[in-house]
């Protein structure tokens, strides 16, 4: 079964680190947000209590900001500067293109049963949204988090009442990110029929060629026309490694489901 390379090892490592750090941030953040509830106290106890939770939240948050910085450098290095700016708006780029809007509408039409399935290229519009949302999310959460962790220092440069506002921005953005990943990202990435039970592309770095022909025909055809397809074919990961990928992937999904379901279930206790 032929497979086509989709992600480089560096991109897979970025995603792996992002998964682990985001899960830590989600757990420690919800532990602090829900610390007035039994569930919140239980979560905090896993990290050594309320104050230790904040310390971990702070250092992992800094790690995520550094990770974002390194990723931006990586992207800048990977840009083909000789063909700039055409290279960043090409079909291999994750920046939005005008074709994406048309494909999104056509895809919606296909979902409703009134249009044909669009011929996606390498990246679908939903994948670009997920990728760019991380930039927005880490930046917003990172800036507000750094300020909230050092309120006395930053109140030299802004009124103290801005801290009230930033705390709510931090909370709402974090809840948005956690729920989005737990529901929309996991469902589209893993749980829909095409990818069920799990899309290992981000772990293995490759996708099945026939599946790619079906879901991303424009990408495969383009590679065939450019003569790159045969150089992009790779073999499947060994079975034991795939088992590890499945176990790891399901563990992450279960953790996020656990957090989201309990967060929703404990809202009443938190507000009451």
């Amino acid at each position: 079964m032929a497979r086509i390379k989709r992600f480089s090892p560096a991109q897979r490592v970025f995603h792996l680190l992002l998964m682990l750090s985001f899960l830590t941030q989600a757990t420690t953040g919800l532990a602090r947000l829900y610390v007035e509830t039994n569930w919140g106290r239980f979560l905090a106890s896993l990290f050594g209590g309320y104050n230790k939770t904040l310390t971990i939240h702070w250092w992992v948050g800094l790690f995520m900001l550094v990770l974002l910085g390194i990723h931006v450098l990586y992207v800048l290095i990977r840009i083909d500067w000789r063909r700039f700016p055409k290279s960043v708006y090409g079909p291999d780029s994750l920046l939005p293109r005008k074709e994406d809007l048309g494909q999104a509408l056509q895809h919606l039409g296909w979902i409703l049963g009134i249009r044909q399935l669009p011929r996606f290229d390498r990246w679908g519009y939903w994948e670009k949204f997920d990728y760019l949302a991380v930039f927005w999310g880490i930046t917003l959460l990172g800036i507000t988090g750094v300020i909230l962790y050092n309120p006395v220092f930053f109140s030299n440069y802004m009124p103290g009442w801005v801290l009230n506002v930033l705390l709510w921005v931090h909370r709402i953005e974090a809840v948005l990110a956690i729920v989005h990943v737990s529901t929309i990202h996991f469902f589209i990435g893993h749980l829909r029929r095409h990818n069920f039970p799990m899309d290992l592309a981000m772990f293995e770095g490759s996708v099945d060629l026939e599946k790619a022909r079906h879901e991303r025909p424009a990408w495969v055809e383009r590679m065939e026309q450019e003569g790159n397809l045969h150089t992009s074919l790779v073999s499947r990961a060994p079975f034991p490694l795939r088992v590890v990928y499945y176990v790891y992937g399901f563990a992450i999904i279960i953790c996020f489901f656990y957090l989201t379901v309990n967060a929703i279930a404990n809202v009443g206790e938190l507000l009451g």
Binding site: V35, E36, I111, V152, Y157, N164, W168
Partner: protein, 268 residues
């Protein structure tokens, strides 16, 4: 000899005491002068502390030539000027609420607002000694300091009598709140930091648009982004998931029976 002295102590007390205690010893005499001086000084300090409590309280802070706070001030640099008892100018707020604030208030609101300027903000309240803070201020208990850090009301607002927030000598007065209250836990707290709204109103409440507009608008903007994201993508993901259970030629297979039906209906 000893018997003789003890007899003298018993029967002619003053002389014998003088002798027995070495009252006229020059070294002892000098020490007692120092002791007496120290006692007088202590009494004087005590009297000053009793008679001038405001002054004594204010002097617990370094208030002149202090660079510690100046370098932390945001913009006003007014800390040194207003820190201690005012010098030559009169305090306009002591007598009550400034006229410009009182004009637009209802009688009850005016009464409440006036209390913010009193030295004892709870002065004259019936059965006050039997009440707890949260009995009359239930909303004020919902703040992170109380809920998370278990900081009680009195730890910030002080013991009785609790001065109004705007009373000139109140330590909760915005002029010195950062130094007398916030800095107890937040080392280096400045005046800007003290403007953090500890008793934050509910950001979703309509009243907050008046009392804390930025919080209100930012909260609803963020909520709209979150709700908008889920409103767009949750149904999208759900319907996408459903659609994948249907074959790709689902639409054309639906059209065929309809087309056949139309054909059959046609000649009639």
């Amino acid at each position: 000899m000893n018997k003789h002295v003890s007899k003298q102590i018993m029967f002619s007390g003053y002389y014998s005491l003088d002798k027995a205690c070495h009252w006229r010893d020059p070294l002892v005499h000098k020490g007692s002068v120092w002791l007496g001086g120290a006692f007088c000084l202590a009494v004087a300090i005590l009297l000053i502390a009793i008679l001038f409590p405001d002054l004594a309280w204010a002097q617990t802070e370094v208030s002149s030539k202090s660079y510690r706070y100046s370098e932390r001030e945001l913009a006003s640099r007014s800390y040194e000027t207003h820190e201690v008892r005012p010098r030559t100018y009169t305090v306009s707020v002591r007598g009550g609420i400034p006229q410009k604030e009182a004009v637009t208030l209802s009688p009850i609101a005016e009464k409440v607002r006036r209390r913010q300027y009193l030295a004892d903000s709870h002065w004259g309240l019936k059965f006050y000694e039997r009440l707890t803070c949260t009995k009359c201020h239930p909303q004020q208990a919902r703040n992170l300091h109380y809920i998370r850090a278990k900081i009680t009301c009195r730890q910030c607002h002080g013991p009785e009598p609790i001065a109004g927030l705007k009373h000139y000598y109140s330590k909760m007065n915005p002029r010195r709140r950062h130094a007398f209250v916030c800095a107890k836990c937040h080392e280096g707290a400045n005046r800007s930091f003290a403007s953090y709204v500890n008793h934050e109103p509910s950001p979703a409440a309509l009243n907050t648009r008046q009392s804390f507009p930025l919080l209100f608008y930012v909260f609803w903007m963020m909520a709209a982004i979150a709700v908008g994201t889920f409103a767009a993508f949750l149904p999208h993901a759900f319907m996408w998931g459903l659609r994948e259970f249907l074959p790709d030629n689902f639409l054309s297979s639906l059209e065929k029976p309809f087309a056949r039906g139309r054909k059959q209906d046609g000649p009639d």
